[in-house]
């Protein structure tokens, strides 16, 4: 079995690793490099728990071959907090009760971060599409959508937006 060297940047640090041809990004980052914010929920590409950002695009680490990431810049949830503390998305997820069991949370955060990088003021529909490959079984999607909109500065409850949730009714 052939091994190749892989050069990439992980959360701002340049790295070189020896990898096997069939090794997934999930296995490299989570199992070998201890980047445990990347969760493994299905290894089928269906749950989104392993979402990371590769060269600005959201990617599923479980179905991405590490070898295809040569020269790439990879970001995981470990890189979110800034010098001033939590990333606005992280704060918004806390404030809006967008993380119940927490298993989907880091994947959701990375999907949301990729969205906001490409589209700083998304509509509710944009947010729904951005997290449509991420499954959450506990929290329910509304608080997550609210949190992403809040972090984007679009305000909570989607006020003034078509399709915004009805406030005040529980």
């Amino acid at each position: 079995m052939s091994h190749v060297t892989l050069d990439f940047r992980l959360n701002g640090t340049g790295r070189t690793e020896l990898i096997a041809g069939g090794e997934t990004l999930l296995s490299l980052l989570r199992h070998r490099l201890d980047t445990t914010s990347i969760k493994q929920g299905c290894r089928q590409g269906t749950c989104g728990s392993c979402t990371v950002i590769v060269d600005g695009e959201p990617r599923l680490a479980c179905i991405t071959l590490a070898a295809t990431c040569d020269g790439c810049t990879i970001e995981t949830a470990e890189s979110l907090p800034g010098p001033g503390g939590l990333h606005p998305l992280q704060q918004a997820f806390m404030d809006h009760f967008a993380a119940q069991c927490g298993f989907c949370t880091t994947g959701m955060l990375m999907a949301a971060k990729a969205l906001l990088a490409a589209n700083p003021s998304p509509t509710r529909e944009d947010v729904v599409d951005a997290i449509s490959g991420n499954i959450c079984r506990c929290t329910g999607y509304q608080p997550i959508i609210e949190a992403v909109l809040a972090a984007a500065g679009a305000g909570p409850s989607g006020a003034g937006q078509p399709g915004g949730s009805r406030p005040g009714v529980v």
Binding site: G22, T24, R43, P58, L60, T68, D129
Partner: protein, 272 residues
């Protein structure tokens, strides 16, 4: 299962290996291939990559557009030239899958997949295939009918004519989960108009058989007619002719046949 990964600079070299080594597969974005690896269901031990530019180019000339087989759904969505394919490309997975899933892979994706392939089929796409050292072109229709043998070749790209007019190309993916889930069935239709009558009608389905197929009976029912209720009714009556839909976790073959005419009518009447 351990696999090796080989990288080639030219399509010719890569296709020579795919052609002679039954344990080799060409790697598109890998959404399906890597999944098979993870599930211990891989029937291959070597993956081949190719860095040839032709795979990732989108080239428009006049009314025709050529799309490299390695172009991803995300790149289709970023291309204004390909606006007519946006609904189909957006129907594939979530954003992360779209950043990885390629056009070439979609032509091989088994049910319940193949949404983009259905759209390309309804656009009368032609496929460029490299088998061994010889390149050739063929209608997508023919390619899909023989695709089991095509894994021994490499698709370099597809070429389509842009549909004429805004509403003349329609795409509908029916799914039980919103905003998106696995397809129950997918319909694409080219409904171009010539002096008030439909001409060159193409209707294609994904998930109504082992590979995306054209709905020949529906095309015949529409060709040369106007899109009026009676005509739509006749088309709907012929909707499932010749289809052998799968039974899977999403729906039974019976259910797919039952609901197909309803969705086809809605698509044709523009109320989908």
């Amino acid at each position: 299962m351990t696999v090796g990964l080989q990288t080639f600079e030219t399509l010719r070299d890569a296709s020579a290996v795919v052609g002679r080594d039954p344990s080799a597969r060409f790697l598109g974005g890998g959404t399906l291939l890597v999944r098979a690896l993870n599930e211990e269901a891989a029937d291959f031990s070597t993956l081949l990559r190719c860095t040839d530019r032709v795979l990732v180019e989108i080239r428009a000339s006049g009314s025709r557009v050529r799309i490299g087989a390695g172009v991803t759904m995300a790149r289709i969505l970023a291309s204004r030239e390909l606006a007519f394919l946006h609904p189909a490309a957006r129907a594939v997975g979530g954003p992360a899958v779209r950043a990885q899933a390629t056009v070439g892979g979609n032509l091989f994706a088994p049910p319940p997949y193949g949404d983009l392939a259905a759209a390309l089929l309804a656009l009368d796409a032609r496929v460029s295939v490299q088998s061994g050292y010889s390149p050739r072109d063929m209608p997508l229709d023919e390619f899909l009918r023989t695709r089991d043998t095509m894994v021994r070749s490499i698709v370099s790209g597809v070429e389509v004519a842009r549909p004429r007019g805004e509403r003349s190309f329609r795409f509908l993916k029916v799914s039980k989960v919103r905003p998106k889930g696995v397809s129950l069935l997918t319909i694409a239709a080219r409904l171009e108009d010539s002096a008030g009558r439909l001409s060159g009608v193409r209707v294609a389905y994904a998930n109504m058989g082992p590979a995306p197929v054209r709905a020949a009976a529906v095309e015949r029912a529409l060709e040369g007619r106007r899109l009026e209720p009676l005509v739509v009714e006749a088309a709907a009556a012929a909707a499932a002719n010749g289809c052998s839909p799968p039974t899977d976790a999403i729906a039974s073959a019976w259910y797919r046949r039952e609901v197909l005419p309803v969705h086809l009518s809605r698509l044709l009447l523009g109320v989908a």
